[in-house]
């Protein structure tokens, strides 16, 4: 049994907006984030990074660093055993280079010293002899014959012969015969797009404190989206057994996908093992940009045909993604997501992943989808303009719905796209007047959503309160949602429940907090754990009343006789059952362990008004409205928060955020000054409209909501800007110089 069917019900607590349990700690500065942890005798670790985009490491001489007073250990790639597993080896080599530095910022050595100043001084004493190799950072250039090869021998069997050695994988999705579809179109538009790599931009840099002892045990505290995965990766690299490595997640200062892997954690562990003392490693912001996981950079061609009345006859996309210096599978997600919003007879996507001398991509909210959907939604908008059709009507006419064979294969069950489009159409924003120089854009967005491995324990305390232990770091208010669902199921007040995120020894394996899975999957496991506890409490009541277990049911937080034949007993509350638990068989707990499937896809539609200054190319976002299907909004405040936050990240991506590499292959803007994430004054209020089309795969109908909202802003804003200036923009970000160039003001 993998998932529970949705059953319509009246909610008493789910859907309300109580205060989050971690709120006071976070507004008083008490919450402990990655860098806030300190241990007795702790050393400070720092990492030496390659200044070259691509270079052979001929030698590393750390003798002078080791001779410096206060330096306790130096680690290089040679300290790690070479993992046999390709994936693990890539993660390890990304944490610490071996033989070759593959990008500017690639770690080549690390030191642990008594304080930060000594560690910094020691880095300067490490002599690395490099042989600089030709590099390539652009995805299209890397595909050309004769391009420098980033890593040899990484091409999968599915790549057609004759392509550049940098192409690591190929995928094709879709159905029908696009050529036949294009033949039926009144208008066919074909466009090429480029999108820059962007960074998740979490405000908290990566931080880890490791303590390895001589008996082979280790403790690791770090900010991560998935400490069980951290344990798997680190144990693999350190040659440790999982049971001996306990990983405890700190509060996490943002992740958005970027903290779903490891960068410094194995380095901290190895330094601690060699130094025999606890070691803390905290990245600087410069290191975060140069050496963690930005998104793929892309180059995309899209071709779509449409009839005069707005029916799409065929769609085709060629997607070239680069996930940096190591193979990455994000291209598959892009290829599957590109046309997901449309009901198409003929659709095909072709994708290639390409190696470049850039840091290894990590996930970022709906990885791979924003870029592909941006290109598709831009071409749909251009067709609407050319055929003088209303862009919302066209999307409604072609919208995927229940029974549609999706562009990636499966036939959709109940989905909320048509409902979100209709909500957008009747919203006053859609018909609000626009002034001269202003324009409106819109785009659909989509994400698959995941379930995954999940364990939840629920302990009933003798005073009638409940403690919940779950294993997914809370990146957006999930402890509040989990408590709410438990409160709903148990029938006790939300305030009587405390949910914590526990370490790797306290629960079975939990997948990473990713794929918008937590409210869905942890919620489902929580509901099941609560039901498990309820069953046990009913059994205790049955024993006390001396009636059959089946004759007891749970209602409004109390055991009650199931019917008149069961006997006449007053309800026995959770608190009453808990109070007697020692005498009735011992403490009461519920738990549930499952690999959850049945996550429902989520669609959203964004509307945006912009104004472009034709003399400077500056774009001002005037009004923004989000419509999204949440299945069931457990805690609407945090659903809105996900929608608003995702949209604003997308706005940054559309307008200003980009990895800029110089000719020397070095990252030019490794800081918040020149990697420009939106600031408060850049933005209007972000209005949200939550729709609730229940997910049949969850007992409360919940769908993940975290990722979909980053998808539509790219095209919504590009469509608005293109309409405002009368020229189609085909590259992200639409920085002011690019807009002026497109207008023709500057050559």
């Amino acid at each position: 049994m993998a998932f529970d069917e949705y059953q319509k019900r009246e909610f008493k607590q789910v859907g309300t907006r109580p205060n989050r349990p971690d709120g006071v700690d976070k507004v008083t500065g008490r919450a402990m984030y990655g860098a806030d942890m300190t241990l007795p005798g702790m050393l400070i670790g720092r990492i030496l990074r390659s200044p070259h985009a691509h270079a052979k490491i001929k030698s590393i001489d750390a003798s002078a660093a080791l001779a410096l007073k206060g330096v306790k250990a130096v680690v290089t790639g040679d300290d790690f055993a070479r993992p046999e597993d390709d994936f693990l080896r890539d993660v390890q080599e990304n944490c610490m280079a071996r033989g070759k530095a593959l990008y500017d910022g690639h770690a080549v050595a690390a030191v642990a010293a008594i304080d930060a100043a000594t560690a910094k001084a020691a880095l300067k004493l490490i002599k690395v002899e490099y042989e600089i190799l030709p590099h390539v950072t652009d995805v299209d250039a890397a595909m050309k014959a004769g391009a420098p090869i980033v890593q040899e021998g990484r091409t999968l069997e599915n790549v057609p012969a004759g392509m550049s050695g940098n192409v690591t994988s190929h995928s094709e999705f879709g159905h029908g015969d696009p050529a036949a579809g294009f033949a039926k179109a009144d208008k066919v538009v074909e466009r090429s797009f480029k999108t820059a790599a962007t960074h998740q931009g979490y405000i908290e840099p990566h931080a880890a404190v490791a303590s390895v002892t001589t008996d082979g045990k280790a403790d690791l505290w770090c900010c991560t989206q998935g400490h069980f995965f951290v344990r798997t990766l680190c144990a693999g690299m350190m040659g440790m057994e999982a049971s001996q490595l306990r990983v405890t997640p700190s509060e996490i200062g943002g992740g958005f996908g970027g903290k779903t892997t490891v960068f410094i954690e194995p380095v901290a562990l190895m330094l601690s093992r060699k130094a025999g003392r606890p070691v803390k490693v905290v990245m600087t912001r410069d290191e975060v940009f140069r050496a963690t996981g930005p998104t793929v950079s892309t180059s995309i061609d899209v071709k779509i045909g449409m009839t005069k009345d707005g029916r799409i006859t065929a769609g085709e996309a060629y997607l070239r993604y680069s996930g940096g210096a190591f193979p990455c599978g994000t291209i598959d997600m892009g290829g599957q997501a590109a046309f997901a919003a449309y009901d198409l007879e003929h659709v095909r996507t072709y994708g290639w992943n390409v190696l470049t001398n850039r840091p290894k991509e990590a996930a970022y909210r709906a990885p791979g989808a924003p870029q592909a959907i941006y290109a598709v939604e831009s071409v749909v908008d251009e067709l609407c303009l050319a055929l003088k059709l209303d862009p919302l009507d066209v999307r409604l006419k072609n919208a995927a719905k229940k029974g549609t064979k999706s562009s990636y294969g499966p036939t959709f069950p109940d989905i909320g796209l048509v409902a979100t489009l209709e909500a957008a159409k009747k919203h006053p924003h859609y018909t609000a007047p626009l002034a001269e120089g202003q324009a409106r854009g819109l785009s659909c967005g989509f994400w698959f959503n995941f379930g995954g491995n999940t364990c939840v324990s629920l302990n009933v305390n003798t005073d009638g309160t409940v403690g919940i232990t779950e294993g997914n770091p809370d990146i957006g208010g999930s402890r509040a949602s989990v408590s709410l669902m438990a409160a709903e199921e148990l029938g006790i007040p939300y305030e009587q429940i405390r949910t914590i995120v526990a370490d790797t020894n306290s629960l079975g394996y939990n997948d990473v907090t990713d794929g918008s899975r937590v409210t869905f999957a942890v919620g489902l496991a929580t509901i099941k754990a609560a039901r498990d506890a309820v069953r046990k409490m009913c059994l205790r009541a049955a024993k006390i009343w001396d009636i059959d277990e089946e004759a007891v049911e749970w209602k409004d937080g109390a055991a009650v006789p199931a019917g008149p034949n069961a006997g006449r007993f007053p309800p026995m509350t959770l608190a009453e059952i808990a109070a007697d638990s020692f005498a009735t068989g011992g403490p009461i707990a519920g738990h549930h362990e499952v690999n959850v499937d049945g996550a429902g896809v989520s669609f959203g539609v964004h509307l945006v008004d912009v104004e472009v200054d034709r003399d400077t190319g500056a774009t001002k976002v005037l009004r923004y409205t989000i419509f999204q299907d949440a299945g069931k909004a457990v805690h609407p405040d945090y659903v809105e928060g996900q929608m608003q936050g995702g949209a604003v990240q997308g706005i940054g991506w559309a307008l200003n955020e980009e990895y800029i590499y110089g000719r020397d292959g070095r990252l030019q803007n490794a800081g918040f000054l020149d990697y420009r994430i939106p600031v408060a004054s850049d933005l209007p209020p972000i209005e949200t409209v939550i729709l609730e089309i229940p997910n049949p795969g969850h007992p409360y109908g919940v769908r993940g909501v975290g990722e979909t909202p980053i998808v539509p802003p790219l095209a919504a804003i590009s469509n608005a800007v293109s309409r405002a200036i009368g020229t189609r923009m085909c590259e992200l970000p639409m920085s002011p110089p690019r807009i002026l160039k497109a207008i023709g003001t500057t050559a």
Partner: protein, 81 residues
């Protein structure tokens, strides 16, 4: 027999087809059947595949029963942010 839809780039590993039939009552048997009938699919199955069964995506779940006439679509194993 279960009809399994493959994604396009698996065509070359499945005798040029994107729909194949295997005898299977559950996801595990389906994977075993695919591997046996089309050894070229083995590398991708090793890397990871998900299965969509009547529109619901399963990332692992060997023992998920596949009813007769079910729509079965093979998908790459999904990872995300």
């Amino acid at each position: 027999m279960v009809k399994v839809q493959l994604w396009g780039s698996l065509r070359s590993a499945a005798d040029g087809r994107t729909e194949v039939e295997v005898e299977a009552k559950n996801f595990r048997q389906l994977l075993d059947g695919l591997r046996a009938a089309h050894p070229g699919l083995a590398p991708q199955i090793e890397r990871g595949v998900s299965m969509s069964l009547n529109g619901v995506i399963y990332r692992e779940a060997w023992f998920t029963e596949i009813p007769p006439d079910a729509e079965v679509v093979l998908m790459p194993y999904m990872t995300g942010g």
